[in-house]
Amino acid sequence: MFDYHALAPELILGITLLAAIAVDLVVPERLKYLVGVTALLGLVAAALPLITLAACSGIAGCAATGPRVLFGGSYVVDDFALVLKGLFIVSGVISLLLSVGYLESDDYYQGEFYFLLLASVTGAVIMASARDLITIFVGLELVSAPAFLLAGWRKGDRRSNEASLKFFLTGVLSAAVMLFGMSLVYGLTGNITFAGIAQAITAFGLQSEPALVLAVVFVIVGFAFKISAVPFHFWAPDTYEGAPTPVAAYLSVGSKAAGFVGLLTICYQAFAPVRSIWGPILWVVAALSMTVGNLIALRQTNVVRLLGYSSIAHGGFILVPFAMAALYDQAGLADAFFGSITYVLFYAFLNLGAFAAVIAVVHKVGSTEITDWGGLNRYAPGLAALVTVFFFGLAGVPPLAGWFPKFVMFRAVLGVFESPWAIALAVIAAVNAVIALVYYAGVVKRVYMDNVPVNAPVDRVAGRRLAPSLVLALAITAAATVIFGFFPQLLAFFGDVTRAFVAAP
């Protein structure tokens, strides 16, 4: 029968989903936040089995140690899966905390919102363990489908409508392309489990098969869309800008991380024998993402849009270790894998923090236009400091947490610095790191050095108090940004344990 312990997080999340609907049906309008509380409790409860699974060998009555392989290799609960599940749950919790105050401040449907957010997190949690094409596809759809709807949650706002429709159409389209690729993978290898695909590629000698190139690229497109890598990125800035800001935060972290999980598992496992195919392709995508994302971000006047483009660029940084995969030895490959995962982990806290700060500032200032943020530190010095922490953190200024993942990324790519391609990519990444600093510092500069704009709607909203949940989210992310900057090992440890993923073929 099933290993219920291994499936406990998913089961708890599933039950919570149903419970959320039930709560939503029975509570009156003014108590709808209880649905959010239910979702929050469910997420926390789902995190508990992660701990017991991680510590399993020491628990009486828990026989299995090491990876738990379920359903004939379709579903695997290993350290990698546990770490990523943890990340998804944490980012889900923070996204929920960001949402509560935001939803109550205006006339939104609350109960359904929490339900959909939870459903999306559940999809991501499933993806972390998915080791076959069907499960990962369905998991991805469970991440995306609620997100399409959430992007349109500000029903009366045409921008939100647009955001939703654009996101939906490009999303479904990229899913179709990805499915076409998956069908070819299935046809060529006769397998849908990642392990089976990898074996079949070697056994049938498909390494230089053009059809496999097509299949690999098409599959990558599906995930590249999710991580908004150039040239599959166009939806991201529009959607971030139009969608409710907490949704944008979730899209840029939870949903994006889910895309990376798909990319990591498929590339490093199913397509492990054809690193020479996806390596160069992701080289191009990484270089383009960093450059295009950063250059366009330079010219943005809206801070959410700016974060949208910066998130594209960060996606590129995360892809950098992938790019040289063809040249790595086994240890180097583990380093590259670790590099990407670590970047995702750090970036999650930094970016959620940045969005939390944006939500808080918008609450005070009433605008996402950067010019309206001028002189923020005169009337909200605490928020100004938080903006500084997160934006400089994203820029990678030590000792804030952002420096460490960049360092790991550079080390991974320079691990094969004999290759001119590695040097070229490192230089591109380095130049982009500098460019990124310009626009992050630009926002900080406005916050501290500009005057309060005369016509800003500041006076109208300046006195508003922040929701306690938002303050909690800010506290968590700010603490993470500072503490993980000084003690990166606390977080990098989780990246470290995932190395085994690469070692196991």
Partner: protein, 683 residues
């Protein structure tokens, strides 16, 4: 106290000497970077509530560092100290990231310099910043600035060095932009930050290449690999060394990364003082010193030294000339700092570890002093421009005396500090020219001697224009309060005596202090003073002073009038219409139609002037060209073009996001198909 049997790194001590591990003193040296950083947080949180608004915390922290540094220096002078300790904070696979502190000759020297100069500057800043609206904030950032530099200096590994390095950059950004109400200061802060960041890319790449090759980021592991002749490191040493030098060029403002430093004058004067003397700009030279064996050991990055020496020589001469035409007194000093950093870089490029760092040591005192004096003057006359000054020697006697001491030290006049250190650099370059440096070093030697002349020349100008003649400003100048003059006197005294720390053949203490490191530096030490070169150096410096006196020691109605050359031979050809007329009038028309007597008279009264002015004019014209033509146009243009180009590219690219979802879809398909087709074609 356990003693380590380690060979003294230097050539000076031929015998195998004992190095001490420093005992308790070294084990608690981690306090040196930590105390200022703790003080910074304390100032941020409680500073405003304290009676002196946080200044006392900053001062106490710097006093602690100064005392600790000096005590270490004394201990090191008696028995060389070499101690190192690290605490692991993170681990990437087999790579360990650590927090460590190094207590050896090099770092002790830096602790002492940062502490002593910092203490003087912090004391002075109390008076200078009095009444500033962001007084507390200033001292928080200022303490962080010093603390970050100490983090950098104490780093036992390259990662920590980068952390300190970036923190210094961040603190300088905050401090340069302190008067952010003025837009120009913002721009200056941003420019400094970005120029540094671009160069930092080099450091980053270099550090990672070395770290990956050696398998550790610790300095002792890296230098150990150099000592063992690690072949993997030898293969990449050139590129790694070059990358690291690029990083050093950014912080130490070497050509063409020097552009940020003059603009960085926008910050309050104490910031400039600390930045130019002890922190920030010395970081690059310090880094080269820390990594010195990599550049010096045969088979490693020795080829980079040729680049280093050339870059240093260009910097020292080109920027020295520019100092000649500046009106802003702080800019004169800023360009002079660039020039002196050029000397230090030249020394490093010539393989003269001790000489380069000795100049860093002496320069810290007199440049810190000069900036504080300039601040005192600016404080008094409410203007940075020398055209608004003049005649201040009467109203500001202490500032005048100390400024003259600093200027003479900088100009390299015997027996002040600058004389000894500059002479040692010249001697090292000469030694290099006779050895591996070859022709390049010979040329550099000439450039360096010419630079000594220029240095004396522009400092003479600064002294005469500021303190002599008639006062031209509007405010009523007065001597600064004692909290400001005492630091001047202290630094003035150090500027006089610091040079005696290393007199070849007489007292070589500094050489021994610096040599207290576990790995051989392999640089050359002189057994005695090179009298010939010392004579030449002193002669050109005196010539510079003399020429300056001839040109600027005179009274005139306005400062502009005083700051003027009369060059009847060169200017007509090149510059000003007025001078063309003048030339015709006095050089051609009058002699022809006037009597012979007038011609003889003219010759008598003007020929010497013409020669003198002509010589000065050449220098001045060259300076004009370098400043107006090269520095302001070409380099600024290049930087602006890069910045503008990036921005334009962003603007163009941004229009690819058309808002039309079907174009997004088209891009998605086209991207996918192009990736496939491109891959199939190219492989």
């Amino acid at each position: 106290m356990t003693h380590l049997l380690l060979a003294y790194a230097g050539e000076a001590a031929h015998e195998v000497a004992q190095l001490s591990d420093g005992g308790t003193l070294a084990r608690y040296a981690w306090l040196i970077p930590v105390v200022p950083l703790v003080a910074m947080f304390a100032i941020v949180f409680v500073g405003k509530r304290l009676p002196m608004k946080g200044w006392e915390l900053a001062e106490a922290a710097m006093a602690f560092v100064a005392v600790y540094g000096v005590v270490l220096l004394i201990a090191n002078a008696s028995t060389g100290i070499s101690y190192e300790s690290s605490v692991e904070i993170a681990r990437i696979g087999s790579y360990v990231i650590e927090w460590g502190w190094v207590v050896d000759g090099l770092s002790i020297m830096m602790y002492a310099v940062v502490g002593v100069v910092g203490l003087a500057v912090f004391t002075y800043a109390k008076g200078y910043m009095e009444g500033d609206v962001r007084f507390t904030w200033f001292f928080a950032a200022f303490t962080m600035f010093a603390g970050a530099m100490l983090v950098l200096v104490s780093a036992a590994n390259m990662i920590q060095l980068i952390v300190g390095w970036e923190l210094v950059g961040l603190a300088s950004y905050l401090l340069i932009g302190h008067y952010w109400e003025d837009h120009e200061n913002n721009a200056a802060a941003t420019k400094a930050f970005l120029t540094n960041k671009i160069a930092d890319v080099g450091l980053f790449v270099g550090v990672i290449i070395i770290g990956v090759t050696v398998g550790s980021f610790r300095f002792d592991a890296v230098l150990g690999a150099v000592a063992d002749g690690n072949s993997a490191l030898a293969r990449v040493a050139f590129w790694a060394g070059l990358a690291i030098f690029i990083g050093a060029m950014g912080k130490s403002a070497q050509f063409p990364f020097h552009v940020w430093l003059p603009d960085a004058m926008a910050g309050p004067t104490p910031v400039s003082s600390l930045m130019h003397a002890a922190t920030m700009v010395t970081a690059g030279v310090y880094l080269l010193g820390r990594m010195f064996p990599l550049f010096q050991t045969e088979g490693f990055a020795t080829d980079v030294k040729a680049i280093i020496i050339v870059v240093g020589a260009i910097t020292l001469f080109a920027t020295g000339l520019i100092a000649l035409v500046q009106d802003d007194i702080k800019k004169v000093l800023a360009y002079s700092t660039l020039s002196q950093l050029g000397y230090m870089t030249v020394a490093m490029g010539a393989g003269a570890y001790t000489a380069g760092l000795f100049h860093l040591f002496t320069h810290a005192f007199f440049k810190g002093l000069l900036f504080l004096c300039a601040g005192s003057v600016i404080h008094a006359v409410h203007s940075n421009n020398m055209s608004d000054m003049g005649g201040l020697r009467k109203s500001m006697p202490w500032t005048f005396r100390t400024f003259v001491i600093g200027s003479l030290a900088l100009a390299g006049i015997f027996p002040l500090a600058g004389f000894w250190s500059k002479d040692e650099i010249l001697a090292s370059v000469q030694f290099d020219a006779s050895g591996s440096g070859g022709a390049i070093a010979s040329v550099v030697l000439v450039v360096a001697i010419a630079g000594a002349f220029v240095t004396a020349f522009y400092m003479a100008r600064a002294v005469y224009l500021t303190f002599f003649g008639e006062y031209q400003g509007h405010a009523h100048p007065h001597e600064s309060p004692r909290v400001m003059t005492y630091p001047l006197i202290g630094l003035g005294a150090l500027s006089i005596v610091a040079g005696f720390a290393n007199v070849p053949g007489v007292y070589e203490g500094f050489t021994r202090w610096l040599a207290a490191r576990p790995f051989s530096m392999g640089d050359h030490h002189f057994e005695s003073i090179n009298y010939a070169l010392a004579g030449i150096g002193l002669a050109v410096a005196l010539a510079g002073v003399a020429l300056g006196t001839r040109l600027w020691y005179r009274d005139a109605a306005t400062q502009r009038e005083r700051d003027r050359f009369r060059v009847p031979v060169l200017y007509p050809l090149l510059e000003h219409k007025y001078y063309i007329d003048d030339f015709y009038l006095r050089g051609v028309i009058e002699p022809i139609k006037g009597p012979i007597a007038r011609f003889v008279d003219w010759t008598n009264t003007n020929l010497i002037d013409a020669v003198v002015n002509g010589f000065g004019g050449v220098a001045r014209l060259a300076a004009r060209f370098v400043y107006g033509g090269l520095d302001q146009r070409v380099i600024d243009l290049a930087i602006n073009a890069v910045a503008g180009g990036t921005s334009e590219a962003g603007e163009a690219l941004r229009h690819t996001t058309t808002g039309r979802v079907q174009q997004y879809a088209g891009a998605l398909f086209a991207g996918a198909v192009l990736l496939v087709v491109g891959f199939l074609i190219f492989t």
